[in-house]
Amino acid sequence: MATVDIRNVMKAFGAVKVLHGVSVDIADGEFVVLVGPSGCGKSTLLRMLAGLENITAGEIAIGPRVVNNVPPKDRDIAMVFQNYALYPHMTVFENMAFSMKLAKAPREVMEAEVGRAAKILGLEALLQRYPRQLSGGQRQRVAMGRAIVRNPQVFLFDEPLSNLDAKLRVQMRAEIKELHQRLKVTTVYVTHDQIEAMTMADKIVVMNSGNVEQAGPPLELYDRPTNLFVAGFIGSPAMNLVKGGVGGGGFTAEGGAVLPLPEGASGKAGVYGIRPEHIQLRPDGIPATVVLVEPTGSETQVIARIGETSLTCAFRERVSARPGETIHIMPEMGLVHLFEAGSGRRLAA
């Protein structure tokens, strides 16, 4: 187990700059999730950690050792690939024992170690199968088993669940989390699914086009996004972001709607953010026209319009309103986020 320090790392493929100075500190045993839209450089950063891509500038340290020039096999890391990269001509046992076979471990050691990992992952009955005789979830587990057997300093996962169906994904999410709690190995996990990030991470690193937008515990990102990008990225359904300006007894949206501001709000606010789940139904609220109602069972999502401004709302109670009808809604004052218009930075409030 080890800490991982990524210090001002840059990456360029020829003339194309992909990472522009990324810094992340990862504590020993921490579960860090890199999240961001497609093409933002998550995989590239992970592959640089693994040693599969060289580092254009900056430094990566695993434990006390700077690994910029350390070849992958000496970095003591294990990686689970998005396509699992199982060796198709080897059985599950051979796949998991491969690293030990390369290191000329005795047969008993291999059997003991693979047995241990297989037991953790429930793979005991499958050890003699070939990868193509396994289901997607089983392959995923074998890939994890291959990593566990290595007993590495750091686990790297590159979108390991993206090939699984929704239900299995939730199950494997829990398994990976549980595994981490059991083994307490420093883990870097890449995903573009912010729910995965929120549920699994000790710390989330939100990336956008080669930069870190914000890094912190999931709830901090949820409660206090530092900028518009993070505000829009974290949370599902996404936060309502309304452009406009302070004035007219509140926040006047470009569409003309007036939204109430919390006390002591900065006058510079250019964007008003409110999460759908932080809008309440109140008889004394602002009248809004219902555009769309989507009941999900546990909550009801409603898209409502105040003037020209559309707001997505998520109500815990069941709403029987139909499109065209009027409801009265009110943002929870303590949970309004205000951002500067130009830079998109959060305004202290």
Binding site: A50, G51, L52, P72, K73, I77, A78, M79, F81, N83, A85, Y87, P88, H89, M90, F98, S99, K101, L102, A103, Q128, R129, Y130, P131, R132, Q133, R146, R150
Partner: protein, 319 residues
Amino acid sequence: MSATTTAPAWNRVRQEPGWLARVFEIKIVLVLACLFPAVALLMTFLTYPLGLGIFLAFTDTTIGRSGQWVGLENFEYLLEDPLWWNAVFYSVFYTGVATFGKFALGLWLALLLNNNLPLKSLLRAIILLPWIVPTVLSAIAFWWIYDPQFSIISYLAVDVLGVRTTNIDFLGSAWPARWSLIAANIWRGIPFVAISLLAGLQTISPSLYEAALLDGSTGWQRFRYITFPMLLPILAIVMTFSIIFTFTDFQLVYAITRGGPVNSTHLLATLAFQRGIPGGQLGEGAAIAVSMIPFLVFATLFSYFGLARRKWQQGEGND
């Protein structure tokens, strides 16, 4: 002005099939019609000559005289014929050594080409050249290269490098001639092997190598445990073809040495031709040709069953 135009009224017409189309609707007619060209071609150019060859092998036909059925006499005679044994020996030796050389060098080339080299496609085109040139042309080139007087190799060795004082006599005696022919065959066969194996290499996912890299493998171990086993199925097929082509080779040997000196470089194919056409003994020539069949069947079965069957590819149930 109102711009609304209504589409002209039309009726969907259901096409009535003509009589020809109706005839082809009958399955058996369709099957026969589709099979006919292929079967006719195969019968004319494959089955008939093969059948005739096998038939001739059991007769004493000579050119100009249709023969009598003589049963196994031709084969009994062959078994006592030192020239036939000689040709069997050289055919096996030629095939074995040349196949080994082609695969060693072809695999090496394929591995090189599978890296990200500059001018990759140009290199590939160059590699294919020996394969594209008609065999007889390259045979003539080799004949020239192996010429006792004008050989470029001799010229380099004697006049440029000065490592020898006399020209090399490539084709004048048995063993040098045998090795020279093998070298020519390897040169000619490498492209086929290299390009086929390259195609096989490119089907191996790069992430397997990355996984192996993280698992701590050395370059040799990656070849030994990933590349080679994953290439085996293709290797088996290519090897089968290569063995068949090499064993039945005719052009190179006939163009360069005609089986000489003193019949030392006869392959079964050249010997069969020699006996049958210039020698006029059609029956005997055919018997020699037929005697290749068991070797070919054996080689095919060996490489097919020895190398091609891999459980991990076939996905059979394991329990």
